[in-house]
């Protein structure tokens, strides 16, 4: 979503993170934390159970060895055929070793070439389980202390050490981890995708509001017409009410101005008509009527010149210009001027048709009044402002006598005094200057290459 900025010339506000991005980011983080913790706990639990299983297995081996062992005069001995075949095969990964009080008394053939020589003696009944590394080989080892009474009643103490290569453990753990994280990853992906869908669906009404607002801006709709969920219905309803009351207000304003004009101008017309019929009229009387007329005209047009509208559809300038030119062709049919229009691209105006017609109409009227044979209108587009609204350049020139610099100054000096208007130019140009000001534009009066005056208007983009 774009940051909106009503004033246009205020500094650009900091980029606001979109709702979509916020929700997605937070949902993603929570999901990752949750799945990460779940994975860590499961991993830990599985490792513990694996170690327990390892210990149980070593315990079993130990009991098997003890069951097969024989106590002789030379100490504790085991038969050549061992109950656990892996103990007899070198490198099979299962090892055993028996210590008596003098040191090692038996070691399994599988220990051939393995530099494992634990020397720890345990008190009878004690066990010790742990992990160690022997010759770069990780092992799980179990030690068990016991006392053995021979037939003569002599008691000797032994410590039995059994160990198993940790490779099995490692392989099992790796396999578990692979599948654990694989599944967790897949779950995360599915959940994120679901999150994305939920998000799109929940934000759909907001997107629809944005689209509907755009439709209003472009003049394709009058109001927000869709049905909206309860959470934003208040907002859209308020917006609709605002739009309606704004339109009603604007219409009432225009109607009031029209009525005011009618009820002021008609008596003036009557007064002038009455004076016309009198045999001798004091010149001040007619002059005062003209002054009242000009003041009423100017102030009414000034009041009607609305500022650029926020929710205005871009108005294509060319068709409006062509309508005016047809009007002029009809009204000035006794003075056929050649009017050429130079137009690059499709310039647009962000404002009411009435304002554009006042701008163009007054300038064209002036050009038709003063031009001899030739009037030229040039339209061009100016670069867009931060809200993406393009500006408009508008030139009207003629081959008439031109405007004297001091007259130009008087036209450009805007003000409320209609009786200071430039003689011969009426109030039309004052209205143009007023409108250009309302649209924060620039008006320049120059000499045209056609020989007469050139009125150059530039309305900036917004």
């Amino acid at each position: 979503m774009q940051p909106t900025d009503g004033t246009g010339d205020a500094p650009q506000p900091r980029e606001v993170v979109s709702l979509n991005r916020r929700l997605l980011l937070m949902a993603g983080l929570v999901l990752l934390a949750f799945l990460g913790m779940t994975g860590a706990i499961l991993d830990h639990a599985f490792r513990q159970s694996l170690e327990q299983a390892q210990k149980d297995r070593l315990q079993g081996t130990l009991y098997t060895i003890l069951a097969a062992a024989d106590l002789s005069a030379r100490g504790l001995r085991l038969p050549d055929t061992l109950p656990e075949s892996r103990l007899g095969t070198p490198g099979a990964g299962l090892y055993a070793l028996i210590l008596d009080k003098n040191g090692e008394t038996w070691r399994s053939p599988s220990l051939l070439g393995v530099p494992w020589a634990p020397t720890e003696q345990l008190a009878p009944g004690d066990t010790e389980f742990g992990r160690s590394v022997v010759g770069g080989l990780p092992l799980y080892a179990l030690a068990y202390g016991l006392s053995w009474e021979d037939a003569r009643g002599n008691e000797s103490t032994f410590t039995v050490h059994v160990a198993e290569d940790a490779a099995t453990y490692q392989a099992q753990l790796s396999a578990f981890r692979r599948s654990l994280w694989g599944w967790l990853g897949a779950a995360a992906a599915v959940l994120l995708a679901a999150q994305l869908l939920v998000l799109r669906w929940s934000l759909l009404p907001l997107r629809r509001v944005a689209a509907d607002l755009k439709a209003i801006e472009e003049g394709r709709a009058e109001l927000l017409e869709g049905r909206y969920p309860a959470e934003i219905a208040g907002l859209t309803h308020g917006l609709n009410t605002l739009l309606k009351s704004e339109r009603r207000r604007a219409r009432r304003y225009q109607e009031t101005l029209a009525n005011l004009a009618h009820s002021l101008k008609t008596p003036l017309a009557v007064l002038r008509g009455a004076l016309d019929r009198m045999p001798s009229v004091p010149p001040e009387a007619l002059e005062q009527i003209s002054r009242i007329d000009a003041a009423v005209d100017y102030q009414l047009k000034r009041a009607a010149a609305s500022a650029p509208e926020t929710l205005a559809a871009p108005l294509t300038v060319r068709p409006v210009l062509e309508r005016l030119l047809r009007t002029f062709a009809k009204a000035y049919s006794d003075k056929p001027l050649r009017t050429d229009v130079r137009c690059a691209g499709e310039p647009v105006f962000y404002g009411s048709e009435g304002d554009l017609m006042e701008l163009l109409g007054n300038l064209l009227d002036n050009a038709h009044k003063w031009g001899r044979q030739h009037v030229r209108v040039t339209l061009a587009t100016l670069p867009a402002g931060p809200a993406g609204r393009r500006g408009l350049a508008l030139h009207v020139e003629d081959d008439g006598p031109g405007v004297k610099p001091e007259q130009a100054q008087a036209v450009l000096r805007r003000g409320g005094r209609a009786d200071e208007q430039v003689p011969g130019h009426g109030i039309g140009l004052a209205v143009v200057a007023e409108l250009v000001h309302a649209f924060r534009g620039r008006l320049a009066i120059e000499r045209s290459e056609l020989g007469g005056a050139r009125f150059r208007i530039e309305l900036p983009g917004g």
Partner: protein, 225 residues
């Protein structure tokens, strides 16, 4: 020329009617749009002056309905506000020119004269038929460059004939376009005026610009030059 004035303000309506009658036009007045529509449809109107802010039927609608009814006489609109949007809409609806209130009567008369002349197909303000010329701006007729003294009625009569050169114009048509409803409609008056015009335009009886076709009417015989 028969004009229709549609204006709701009684004083202004009367002023307009008086001024136009003084200039030799036959004038019908209507107080609102509906009455204006009735006159425009039923009477042989040559030009209408219509105020845009009318009760019952707004000026714009009145113009549109008249044009839709194939009434092609020129229309001059009066507008109080003088907004370009109103002028453009008025001319698009079918009007031919506009005046912003308050206006000078002279300006109104000049616009009316120009519109009538253009409607008759004359592009220039001065009509020349051989030695006779008629200036629609100053309402002045001259013969071989000498100004002639014509009354307003005589001027309108000559103007009507010159606007229809070579056409047979019946007495009834002349009466309809030159006389008020309430005036004496005796056709002999027309004959009297034609007689006076002939005397002033053709004192030597050599030019014979106005031909009488017995039982049918009159014809202006000269060709535009």
């Amino acid at each position: 020329m028969r004009l229709l004035v549609v204006e709701d303000e009684p004083l202004l309506r009367e002023q307009l009617a008086q001024r136009l009658r003084a200039a030799g036009y036959a004038v019908d007045t209507a107080v609102d749009g509906e009455e204006g529509l009735y006159f425009g449809r039923e009477y042989p109107i040559d030009l209408a002056v219509i105020d845009l802010g009318l009760p019952k039927l707004p000026g714009l609608d009145l113009i549109q309905r008249l044009r839709a009814d194939d009434r092609h006489f020129p229309i001059l609109i009066l507008t109080a506000r003088g907004r370009w949007q109103d002028k453009v809409q008025g001319l698009e609806a079918g009007a031919d020119d506009y005046l912003v209130k308050p206006f000078e009567m002279e300006e109104l008369l000049a616009r009316v004269a120009a519109l009538l002349r253009r409607a008759a197909g004359f592009a220039q303000p001065v009509l020349r038929f051989g030695p006779i010329s008629l200036d629609t701006r100053s309402q002045q007729v001259s013969l071989d460059g000498r100004a002639l003294e014509l009354t307003a009625y005589e001027y309108r009569l000559l103007e009507y004939l010159m606007f229809h050169p070579g056409e047979v114009v019946s007495k009834t048509t002349l009466t309809e376009h030159l006389y008020q409803e309430d005036q004496d409609r005796d056709s002999n008056t027309i004959e009297v005026f034609i007689g006076r015009l002939r005397k002033k335009l053709d004192p030597d009886n050599a030019l014979q610009p106005i031909e009488t076709l017995r039982g049918r009417g009159y014809r202006f015989t000269l060709a535009a030059s």
